[in-house]
Amino acid sequence: MIHSTIGSAGHLLVIIAFVTALVATFAYFKAGMSGTLPEETLTWKKFARMIFFVHVAAVAGVVFSLYWIIGNHYFEYHYAWKNSSLSLPTGYTISSFWQDQEGSFLLWIFWNVVLGVVLIFSNRSWEAPVMTVFALVQAFLTSMILGVVIPGLDLKIGSTPFLLLKEVMPDLPVYQMDANFIPKDGNGLNPLLQNYWMVIHPPTLFLGFATTLIPFSFAIAGLWTRKIQDWIRPALPWALFSALILGVGILMGAYWAYETLNFGGYWNWDPVENSSIVPWLVLVAAIHTMIIGRRNATALKTSFILTIATFILILYSTFMTRSGVLGNASVHSFTDLGLSGQLLVYLLTFTIVATGLLIYRWKELPVDEEEVSTYSQEFWIFIGATLLCLSGFQILATTSIPVYNKIAEAFGTILNMALPADQIGHYNKFQLWFFSLIIVLTGIGQFFWWKRVGQNRLQALYNPLLIALIISAAIITYQGVKDIQYIVLLTTAVFAIVANGTILINIISGNYNLSGGAITHIGVALMLIGILFSSGYTKVVSINNSGLMISRSEEFTSNDNKENKENITLWLNKPEKMGDYMLTWRDVRVEPRHIPGYIPKSWVDIVEGDFHAVALRDIVVNDKKYNSKGDTIEIFPENFYYDIEYREPSGRIFNLFPRVQINPRMGGIVSSPDIQRKYNKDLYTYVSMVTNPTAEPVWSQTENFTVNMRDTFFVNDYVAILDNVIRTEQVEGVTLGEGDAAVKAIIRVLDKDKEYVITPSFVIRDRMVARKPEVSNDLGMRIQFQEINPQTGQFSFAVNTTQRDFIVMKAIEKPLINVLWLGTFVLVIGFVMATIRRFKEFVKMRNRENMPASGKSKSKARPQAV
């Protein structure tokens, strides 16, 4: 039965949410207009609030409906069919929700609603103007999932997640036979994304996106109601919170890319990554100017520009990733849902309205009486903010190349521009210097901020400078840093740590609440050092130096043998030297669902097209028996782990299990790394090529050998010796009864450095002959015992050969990458402290403002914890 009610309800609720958002915008706008009478304002405000709460309820209903459809596996719905499946573990069913575009818009809408409610309750005096902007944004966002066709115009607005499969793909042949067909199972979540990061990364990132709306709304409200300076106090804690969440979201993505997705590192300069870091950089710049904005008019103006720019950049980023404009340029942008036009209208509306309002009010903004002194805190903070913006601008200028092409196309010319071929080099050329300067300024700025230095008293900076130079010199010598730009970045980052550390020690004893800034700066400096070493000094360890390769002479020898030897081939069970390590590929393993670790693939028989496997033997892991032979167990059918044994020179052995995933959604086979983590470096290993682990081997034509006992014969270039033929009582997979007989041949096969013994058996059972071949995966050989000739005393064997199993792998050393992650934690702590401090300040101010006011606001003033 098709559950059409829930879908219709969801669709209806989206429409209600859209309409209420529009009405709330209008009502809040009316309430915010200063011309109207106070009572009228109040009525409008109450009405607007009520409508907004209806909107909240509708959005909650939409979210619930979509969850209901996914959670109950209603595969008659396209969204559930496409993004979830029965075999999906519960945790990932949640993330099916935001796997697709509609769901991720919904996630964003949901966060906005939550934030809107928090704002309504925490900040009554700004409610009307701020919520006008909020409601308008909600109207645009809900329109993206509206899925309504305007009759007559043939204009489709939005794409709804509540479509039935039948409505999306009406041409499927099955519908002609059975109009009520419901798929038994869905396609499931892309296996590569089945990871806990998929559960927490998108919600965090979208909360980050959503929170940038708050400082923007306050800025607009400030301009609108002419509270030119007052908006900063309530906006600042939110700006910090936003920078915290957005930053964490981006870093989660970076870590995910590093650990699982195998984009090669934590940052790939992908347009999608870039377009989320740029708003963050601008937001951080905005925070700095907001801090001084109440004292300095230039900073105030800049705060307006930057807060508005942050939100516009978020919209621009949304437009880029979802409109299909990136096309070839990005690995992980969404496909075009036909929303480009709508997204463009969204982007342009806010750009034009916000810039228009700013220009309109520009003349009313204050002007600085005198020039800012070079020795003032404002000056240094201002320079820092400017550099952050320039850094963002550089990233944006390059990332937007596909957009230039589209714009040129719209004007009838063809630009044919493409992203730089060497992206890393291109970005580093600028970013390395920008960040060297920025990080120095964090140190200097803090000294000016806390008035430790000033005109004619710069001495206080000498000690940190001296200490920093000594420490940097030590690191440079010890680590062998030779590149001048790396030396500069390292020295500046060390200086920032020392300088901010000095300040931190000074102020922490007084009031630790104020130390957020210094801590955040130390975090950034640590991150830069981590990035410098882990990226700048990445070392490929899997340089092939076995000498066994047939080399393409000039190419191999040119450029110091570096160019093309970064992957090595490993044959099953054949040790190979790599750097200091001796590597052996031991096995292919599979991942059972309720058993720790991985088990050899040969232990189970995977049921095709299912997530179950039949145990071919007792499953014993760490001396604990989990299943008996013949049991059916649950596994992750897409994942295969390649057991690679590393033997260190000391003789210590460890194993890494890089993963290979059979993933048709990603075009075939996707590999993920396994990482050996040491305190000072990561050893990052991944399989760059394998023979498909699910494919059956292709055997060569049968070759027959008839030999005498102890004869030597040649199979597939190996020397084989028939050592013996003996009677046996046990043949695997065959039960021998009374009167049955079995013999097995013992054939020795000599490889270069190892001997293999292959024992095919010949069974006479119930007067029937059975021949049980034996396969050696190491040799890529199958031998079957064909015949015994009693007359001649000769034995016949049938031999097939196949490609020997091999993998191609790559190993990279990433030194000091833990400093990057450590810096991340420090950064987060700093941001949290700064956010709490500014919230406290805001609450104090709000309560003070509310005190003398009439009784009505007293009861409503409730401190809001974050």
Binding site: V372, T398, M417, P420, N564, E566, N567, G667, M689
Partner: protein, 144 residues
Amino acid sequence: MKKIQIFGLIIVAVAIGIIVSTAGDASTYVDFTKAREMAQEGDAESIHVVGKLKKDVSGRILDMEYQPEIDPNYFAFTLIDNNNVEQKVIYKNTKPQDFDKSEQVVVIGKMQDGAFTAEKILMKCPSKYDNGKMETTEHTAAKS
């Protein structure tokens, strides 16, 4: 001149520098004929070429060479650009796993000694789940 004006001028100068450099570093989409001309003129800039794999009537890929057991870091294939010009492409890395299925290939690199040396390959493969839709994947030849 006021400090703020000097400051503004510096920012504008840096911004112009950024734009000029972006334009300079930006690669272009060209065809193989143009790529050969550029190589002859000694232009060593990396370029993008869009093309399709050379296939026979039954859809088998022709002139493709990859023997990991001999050299896992050497992959060669023939690409036909949009003007039907054939070109041998060498990619000094492992063969991308989904290469055989790709409908459209973008190679980024330059002509060297008669062959196009690709530093990066972008592929469009038909998506299994979205009929008619394409997915892009990216592969980079490592260098260090």
